[in-house]
Amino acid sequence: MYNQTEIIKDTTNLGPDGELVVNMGPQHPATHGVLHLVVTLNGETIKKIEPHLGYIHRSIEKMCESLTYRQFIYVTSRMDYLSSHINNTACALLVEKGMQIEVPERAKVVRTILNELTRIASHELWIGAMAMDLGAFTPFFYAFREREMITDIMEDTCGARLTMNYIVPGGLMYDIHPDFQTKVKAFVKQFKEKVTEYEDLVTGNVIFQSRTQGVGTLSYEDAISYGCTGPVARASGVSCDMRKIAPYDAYDRVEFDEVIETAGDSFARYIVRVKEMNQSIRIIEQLIDNIPEGDFVGKTKNVLKLAKGEFYQRVETARGELGVYIVSEGATTPYRIKFRSPGFSNLSVLDHIAKGSKIGDLMATMGTLDLVIPDIDR
C-alpha cells in the first residue's frame, strides 16, 4: 500500500504483457516545465499515467507562514506565473476581507482590467503552446505577438512583465500609467483583427479538429467529482465561473457570458478558451473608458493584522478556481495558509481521461488541460 512506484531506471526491461513504461518528463518538450509522467503503454495506447510532482516544489505555503500580510503577496506571483495578477488579487482580497479595508472604486476597476488582460495573455500563450504540442509551430509566434502587447502594458504600469506584484492590500501599489488607456485600446483593436488568424490556422484546420475532437473526453459528473474548475470544467458543461458565482472587484457591474460547452473533449476546451478571450475583451471594453477618478489605494494601517479566525477567498484565474485559505491567530503572519490551486485538481483528471488513447492524444489532452507546473507543485 505504501510502496513507492519505482521510477523506471532500467530501460532494457519491459513490464509484463509487453508493457512499455516511458518516463515522460521532467525534461520533455510537451510537458512545459518539469512535470514527470510515468506512462505505461501498450504499443501506442496508453494504459496508465502516473504523475510524479515536486520538481519545482518550493513549499510556498510554508514560506508564507513566515511572511507578513504585505509580503506574502509577491510569492503568489510565482505560483501560477501566467496569471500572477489574479493570484495577487486573491491574496489582497483576502486580506481586505479579513481587515474590512475599503478599496477605492478606481483600484477595483483597474484590478479587473488587469486581471482580464492577464487572462488573455495566459490564454494566448496557451494557444501557442498547445498548437506547438500538436506540431504546428507557427501559431505560437502569432499568439506571442499579441501577448507582447499585454506584457508591454504591464511593463508600463506595473514595472514588470510577468511577476508584477502590483496589487497591495487596499488597492494598487501606485497609480496607472498615463498611457494605460490608449495602450489597452490599441491592444483591443489589434486583438480583434488578429484573432481571426487563429480561426484560419488552428480552429478551422481539419488536422487540428481531428486531433482534438473526441479526444480526452471528460464527462459532467467526472468534472465535478474530480474538482475540475475553469475552462476544463466549463467545457464539460459545469458552471463554475467564480466571477459569476461570487463576484469580486468590479465583476458585478460588467456584462459578460460564462462560456459553457458540453462536449467535454479537447476541442471543447479549446473553444471555451478562445471564446473566453473574447469575453475578456468585452469586459475590458466596458471598463476602460469608465475608470473612476480618485484614490488608487485605500486607507490601511501600517502593520496589517488579521483577526483571529479563518478566511477563504476564491477567484477565477486563467486555469480555474484559485482558493486561498488562511487560518489566522491574530498575528502579523498567517498561521496556516493553503492555496487550492486549479492545476492540481485538473492534473488529477489526466489519468482518467487519457487512458486508452494514443500518445498523440495525450499531448492534446495535456495541452488543453493547460497545466502550469509551479501552480501544481507550489
Binding site: 500500500m1 505504501y2 510502496n3 513507492q4 512506484t5 504523475p51 510524479h52 510532482l53 515536486g54 516544489h57 513549499s59 505555503e61 510554508k62 476581507k97 467526472d222 465535478i224 467529482s225 474530480y226 474538482g227 475540475c228 474548475t229 459545469v238 458552471s239 463554475c240 458565482i245 461570487a246 479566525g309 479563518e310 478566511f311 477563504y312 476564491r314 478556481e321 482558493g323 485559505y325 487560518v327 498561521y335 496556516r336 493553503k338 487550492r340 492540481f344 485538481s345 492534473l347 488529477s348 482518467h352 507543485d377
Partner: protein, 166 residues
C-alpha cells in the same frame, strides 16, 4: 436551503456534530471517525454537496485538524466546511476519495505534508517530495516518534539543510 434547515438536517443524521457560525461559512465540527458517514450523507440527496473544492489540514501543535470545504454544483451559494480533529502523534482518518475523486490527490498531499494516514485510500503514496524522502513509512513513523518534525508542513518541522536562516 437556508442555514437553519441545513443544520437541522445534519443534526438529524449526525447528532454529535457541533456548529460554528463565526466564520464566513457554516462550520461543522465532528469527530474524526464520523467524517466519512457525514460526507456520504452530505454528498447524497437532498444536499448534493458534490464539489469538494478544498481539502487540507491545519497543525494546531496539540492536534491536527482536517478541513473539508464543500459546495454543490447545483447551488453554488451553499458552502459548508467540515472540520475534524485528529491525533497529532498517530493521525488516522477514513478517506473520502471514493466520494469525491479529487480527494485522492489532495489526501496524498496531506499525507505527505502532515503525515495523516487515510484508511482505505486507493493509492496512498508521496506525491510531491518523493525522491528526497523515499523512506518506508514504518521508518518514517519511528522518525516521527524519535525525532520530532518530520512532516514538512507541521509546525515543528526543522530542515537544517534546505531552510536558510537569515
Amino acid at each position: 436551503m437556508d442555514i437553519e434547515s441545513i443544520k437541522s438536517y445534519i443534526t438529524a443524521h449526525a447528532p454529535e456534530a457541533t456548529f460554528d457560525e463565526t466564520g464566513e461559512w457554516l462550520n461543522i465540527i465532528v469527530e474524526s471517525n464520523h467524517v466519512k458517514p457525514l460526507a456520504a450523507v452530505l454528498h447524497g440527496q437532498p444536499m448534493q454537496l458534490d464539489f469538494l473544492f478544498c481539502l487540507t489540514c491545519v497543525d494546531y501543535k496539540t492536534h491536527l485538524t482536517m478541513v473539508y470545504h464543500l459546495t454543490s454544483s447545483k447551488d453554488r451559494s451553499i458552502n459548508i466546511v467540515i472540520k475534524a480533529n485528529v491525533n497529532s502523534a498517530d493521525p488516522i482518518i477514513e478517506t473520502v476519495s471514493d466520494i469525491w475523486r479529487t480527494a485522492e490527490f489532495l489526501e496524498r498531499e496531506v499525507f505527505e505534508m502532515f503525515g495523516v494516514e487515510f484508511l482505505h485510500h486507493p493509492d496512498l503514496r508521496k506525491l510531491i517530495l518523493e525522491e528526497e524522502t523515499a523512506i518506508a513509512v514504518d521508518e518514517q513513523k519511528e522518525l516521527v516518534t524519535e525525532k520530532k518534525g518530520y512532516w514538512p508542513l507541521r509546525k515543528d518541522f526543522e530542515d537544517p539543510i534546505n531552510m536558510i536562516k537569515l
